[in-house]
């Protein structure tokens, strides 16, 4: 019997005919008619006008007919909310039908109808079905609670369904448990309160159900296990013991979820032998993923990428399984290549290079390029292999395949940055291929090489001159590089380049409308005009070596992604909040998460001096301990206690705190430097990152010792951010008669989770009338308490031995803004779109300083609020788009409209975490009106 005949009625008057048939007394006629209606619905015809007629067929004992009518109602109830109510009676009746199949069907379907006046009537049947004697009905009802929550969370909470769901974790049927877990997990994700907490009590129930439920149920439970933080190493071990058998499951999703649990729990296991054994057990199942369907391979490879970053030992001996096969889909090949680079080491490099060389002769251009790039990255990653890598690249250049040659030149430039003065021998070969260069990046790379080694290339001036001829038609990247290289040549061999340097400076400063090029041209011009030797020292200074950090995600992001193994986040390598807009409870999870202070790792070659940010994290436990201790101190000053709840309007940003906080050219120029070595070469030893930098002087505010009851000590201090690190600068003056020692510091628990990295202050004893300056590194990884207002006054106490001094100090919000806040236009746009309108805020900020957007924006950039693009609208307005990112990876997107007429700057903002915005706007207003 074929259903296709139902699609064939296309004659006129069809709807009318269907109405007739639907009114038929005969059940089989009715069924045929409903099937035709469903067929029409399937091909996208609108049959909603038949709603009442189809509804009439609902009261039937024919299960098939009933299912079809339910399907119809599910699809069209939205269009007829008023008439959908007519179905309620039948639904309710069916929900108490003797046949459990029908009971479940009724509850399941009712939950899918997202019409308010239906959901109200769902509560009673649902309550009964949650306690139904048949497990099939109970498991369906459990999911239905999640459906109801999606439509009307208040109703679910007020009806006590969440408590029933939690009780269901102890259900005798493992499938009911699994569905209850799925529903609770989902609700917990969007709820503002924590409604699903795994404790030792229900942990065992979940582990028991894990062994007995279906493959899908196992996945729900495994995912939920990741929410639990084991209390001891033993507990973590025993959970892992129960989970490891799942690695043998035929379903790859079960396997990946098990690996997620193991990766998480391993962090809590102290016994290294156990960890090693677990790592060993994870390797074979991961490798097996590569013999599955290509889509699963892709997913597996994206996750393996994360796992290898976190625990390289897991797959260290498995290089060969990642070798590409001819018939692998391109998306699989690209991912394999990435992992091969990560696993490459001194021992296997020969083998790997042979493979890369093989790939570089394939036909797929992008794959070939990536293979060539891979060789370069290996050269930079593995010192001892650089020679071999260079040799392979030279071999490839002799193939004369245009894009291979260009890609090779680009990576050789990077190799020169890593190993200066080591491989100039190859320059001759490179120069022989000048004519084949037509891509800007390759050209710019070649020009950089010529400029850098100008003293060793006899005909450097001729080569550069040949590029100079077409200067105006070149891409700006090439123009900038050409300018720099010619200046370098001039500094090294003045006679040869006298004329050229004049020409290029003229072209750059007078005939170009690219501001970057003009600016750079002027800088060189003035440098050269003022002092030739100084120019030499600056332009030809030694550059920091580069390292390969291309395949390394920032620690905090990596940890977050590891916790998201097998989800979309692990595929995109992006934290969920950047692409999911539906997570209402996001802010809770976002700020609760533990983060490292390490940051700022651009996914590009990063200068060495950027890597020495030390990671000073004190154990989480001790911090929490402090938090509790503080709360238990009722004798703590009432005054400070009330300060926590200060109204926002009370905030004062003591201007000295913010003034001078950062001086000099930190901000945008810095970002540019990281993007390509080109830009670095001209700033050389000048300002910015290259030179020795000292923290700016901070003006501290008197915070203790100003009031009559304050005795014994005078404290002043301020928070500051420098080079990506937050610190609290304190000055202590002992006004008592005795010497003080053993200073400790504690912070009150606060919204941002700010804690001192080390509670013990590094100063020794403080004699009477002596004063001392201390700089206290700050972590943002402490326990944050989300229920507190995000007010930014901090209450802090200093404890010299037994005595305590409580004081309050302003924490400037911009200290939380990281250096890697800039976005490119596209990401800005897509992020803006992805944030719901609801989160949009707008506020007018009167500008009381000189109304000059340029200087204001420059000042903002120095505070890590970065401009992306600016445009002029009419004569009176200038709109600037900006972005910044907080320590806990919340992006704040801004649109500042400067109106010259009114001297008002209108700020429209969007962020995923709107509750910090009031504070942010306050800070912004302050920053705008107090430029540095």
């Amino acid at each position: 019997m074929s259903d296709s005949k139902y699609f064939q009625t296309t004659k006129k008057g069809e709807i009318h005919e269907l109405k007739e048939e639907l009114l038929s007394q005969r059940e089989d006629k009715k069924k045929e008619a409903v099937k035709k209606v469903i067929a029409a619905m399937t091909v996208g015809k609108d049959v909603s006008m038949l709603f009442t007629h189809v509804l009439n067929c609902m009261q039937t004992h024919n299960l098939e007919l009933k299912k079809l009518v339910y399907l119809y109602v599910m699809n069209y109830a939205k269009n007829h909310p008023d008439r959908a109510i007519l179905a309620v009676n039948t639904f309710q009746k069916d929900a108490s039908d003797p046949n459990p199949l029908i009971r479940a069907l009724a509850v399941r379907t009712m939950g899918c109808i997202r019409v308010d006046n239906i959901t109200e009537h769902l509560c009673e049947p649902l309550r009964f079905c949650l306690k139904d004697q048949d497990p099939y009905v109970r498991k369906t009802a459990a999911v239905c609670v999640a459906k109801l929550y999606d439509v009307n969370p208040e109703l679910v909470e007020s009806q006590g369904f969440l408590a029933i769901l939690n009780d269901m974790l102890g259900d005798s049927n493992p499938m009911v448990v699994a569905n209850a877990v799925a529903a609770l997990t989902e609700i917990d994700e969007v709820s503002k309160h924590e409604i699903f907490r795994i404790n030792q009590n229900n942990l065992n129930k979940l582990l028991a159900a894990l062994q007995a439920t279906t493959e899908w149920g196992q996945i729900f439970i495994l995912n939920a296990l990741c929410k639990y933080n084991p209390e001891s190493s033993q507990e973590a071990e025993s959970v892992c013991e129960r989970v490891t058998p799942r690695l043998q499951h035929a379903n790859s999703a079960v396997v990946l979820s098990s690996i997620k649990v193991l990766m998480k729990y391993m962090n809590s296991i102290h016994n290294n032998d156990v960890v090693r054994a677990l790592c060993k057990k994870m390797a074979p199942p991961l490798v097996t993923l590569l013999s599955k369907e290509p889509e699963i391979q892709f997913l597996g490879l994206r996750n393996i990428n994360l796992i290898v970053q976190k625990r390289p030992e897991v797959l260290q001996y498995e290089m060969k399984v990642f070798f590409c096969k001819y018939n692998d889909p391109i998306y699989v090949k690209m991912e394999k290549l990435e992992i091969m680079i990560m696993l490459a080491n001194e021992k296997n490099i020969e083998e790997v290079l042979l493979e890369f060389k093989e790939y570089a002769t394939e036909v797929d251009v992008e794959f070939v390029r990536k293979a060539v790039r891979a060789i370069g990255r290996c050269a930079i990653k593995i010192d001892r292999a650089s020679e071999k890598c260079i040799q392979v690249l030279l071999d490839l250049i002799t193939t004369k395949v245009n894009y291979v040659v260009q890609e090779a030149i680009i990576v050789i430039k990077d190799i020169f940055r890593k190993y200066p003065n080591k491989y100039e021998g190859v320059i001759a070969t490179l120069c022989a291929n000048l004519e084949s260069l037509d891509e800007p990046e390759a050209k710019a790379s070649m020009i950089w090489i010529i400029g850098e080694y100008a003293e060793r290339i006899d005909n450097a001036h001729e080569l550069l001159n040949s590029f100079l001829e077409g200067f105006k038609d070149e891409n700006s990247q090439v123009q900038l590089q050409l300018l720099t290289s010619i200046v370098k040549l001039f500094l090294k061999r003045p006679k040869d380049a006298q004329q050229m340097v004049q020409t290029v400076l003229n072209l750059s400063t007078q005939e170009s409308d690219n501001p970057d090029l003009r600016d750079r041209g002027f800088v060189y011009w003035r440098l050269l005009a003022t002092n030739f030797e100084a120019a030499k020292a600056i332009v030809l200074s030694e550059k920091p070596l580069i390292t390969d950090s291309t395949s390394h995600l920032e620690d905090s992001l990596l940890n977050e992604l590891i916790n998201n193994i097998s989800t979309l986040a692990s595929v995109y390598h992006k934290p969920p909040e950047t692409f999911v807009t539906k997570l209402k409870g996001l802010k809770r999870g976002g700020l609760r998460g533990v983060r490292d202070e390490d940051e700022d790792e651009e996914p590009e070659y990063v200068d060495d001096d950027n890597n020495n940010i030390s990671n000073t994290m004190s154990p989480q436990n001790s911090q929490q301990g402090y938090g509790q201790q503080q709360q238990q101190q009722p004798q703590g000053p009432q005054k400070t206690g009330s300060l926590i709840d200060l109204d926002l309007s009370d905030l004062n940003f003591g201007s000295p705190v913010n003034n001078n906080q950062m001086t000099g050219g930190y901000g945008q120029p810095q970002q540019q430097q990281q993007q390509s070595p080109n830009d670095l070469s001209f700033l050389g030893g000048g300002g910015g990152r290259g030179g020795p930098s000292t923290p700016p002087k901070v003006n501290k505010v008197l915070v203790y010792g100003k009031e009559p009851n304050h005795q014994n000590i005078v404290i002043s201090g301020a928070f500051t951010r420098f080079n990506g690190r937050i610190s609290l600068e304190l000055n202590l003056l002992n006004t008592s008669q005795i010497s003080m020692q053993k200073f400790k510091i504690q912070f009150y628990q606060n919204y941002f989770g700010i804690t001192p990295a080390d509670p013990i202050l590094s100063c020794g004893s403080l004699e009477p009338n002596q004063q001392t300056d201390i700089s206290i590194p700050i972590n943002t990884t402490g326990a944050s308490s989300p229920q507190m207002n995000p007010v930014i006054d901090m209450c802090i106490m200093v404890l010299p031995s037994q005595e305590r001094f409580y004081f309050k100090i302003t924490f400037p919000f911009n200290c939380l803004l990281t250096e890697n806040g800039p976005l490119d236009k596209e990401s800005y746009l897509s992020m803006w779109k992805s944030i719901p309108e609801l989160n949009e805020r707008s506020r007018d900020i009167p500008v009381r300083v000189q109304f000059n957007p340029d200087s204001i924006l420059k000042s903002l950039a120095s505070k890590n609020i970065f401009e992306i693009v600016r445009k002029r609208v009419g004569n009176q307005e200038e709109i600037s788009f900006l972005s910044c990112k907080t320590e806990n990876s919340i992006y704040i997107l801004l649109e500042l409209t400067f109106n010259y007429q009114t001297n008002i700057c209108r700020c429209v903002s969007k962020t995923t975490s709107p509750d910090i915005m009031a504070l942010f706007e306050h800070t912004l207003e302050f920053l705008i009106n107090n430029p540095y």
Partner: protein
Amino acid sequence: MAASAIFLLDSKGKVLISRNYRGDVPMSVASKFVNKILEEEDLNLKPIIQEDGVSYIYVKYNNLYLLATTERNANAATILLFLYKMIEVFNEYFKELEEESIRDNFVVIYELMDEMMDFGYPQSTEPKILQEYITQEGYKLDKVKPTIPVALTGAVSWRSEGIKYNKNEVFLDVVESINLLVSSNGTVLRSEIVGAVKMKSKLSGMPELRLGLNDKILFENSVKTGAPKGKGVELEDVKFHQCVRLSKFENDRTISFIPPDGEFELMSYRLNTTVKPLIWIECISDSHAHSRVEYMVKAKSQFKGKSIANNVEIIVPVPSDADTPKFRCTVGTCRYAPEKDAIIWTIKQFPGGGKEFLMRAHFGLPSISDERPAVKPPIMVKFEIPYYTVSGIQVRYLKIIEKSGYQALPWVRYVCLSGDYQFRTA
């Protein structure tokens, strides 16, 4: 973590049938998906893509797209596996999932979609059990009201009670496929066995089965066997059907289970080998640009003398602009397959024990050719060797215990197949 909606689309991207599970993603997104996959370059076309806040997870099967959408941080692995499970279930129902069979069975497909996933969470996906209460001939059931199979929520969710056979039998097929990758200079880069134990059970009641293999790890843990060491096989990774008690396997390495009825894959395994590739190919090509190209291909069997490889196909790539083929071979037949740009050399029976065969081919080349770099597909080999496994794995026993106490006969067959068997060409 769940899917919002599932779509089945034809090769042009027209929606054949869909089911909206959560109502949070508009159904019009399907057309966006179509535009995306039709316009996007192959390179960026990954199986999981994101556009305007909606994630699309899809697999392609028989000119169909199975697509799931979500707006959340869904569990991508679960969704992908679920899509494959859908294919399996539909194939079980309609013999072959294709455009035609979807139109012919849309009512059942709606029912199955309703049963297999609820609110985006996968539920019951065991084809055997689903078939007990969701049937194509729904009208027959008017008299007997369908009820829920006990198995659906029972501890044994894959098997129903009350199955009856007059003759109780079990058939085991041990199938090994060999993946091989050899570099152009003749170095074996990878040699891997992916094996599977497939079972067809025709057993009454609720039988308890225990399977014994000569896996090394199994060996060392069972004290009684006393079999000589070193003879066992070391499997690197083993995966089991959900009927196998994994914790029991973890504890004492016994494979014990209550099988589903009918055919299923009991376990799969994977191991790397160091044995010589079963069929070795050497190919020398001599290309004279703009005039001709000549090939000399040597095939050698490297498996035991008693075994025979059947239906051997050696597929040798040739330039796409080659013409006027001429062949000579010592055994088998040669054919030029222009649609594959390859010579296919077929040998019906290839005896083991170091036998060598030769094939020579000659092609003309056009006097004008394009300058693009040549494609270099590998030489592929297909074969099957019955009664043989490379790993040496053996079924040592299959114990069948049922409370009625019947005797059942297990039958075991072994076969070795070529998997991805590739020799790169220079």
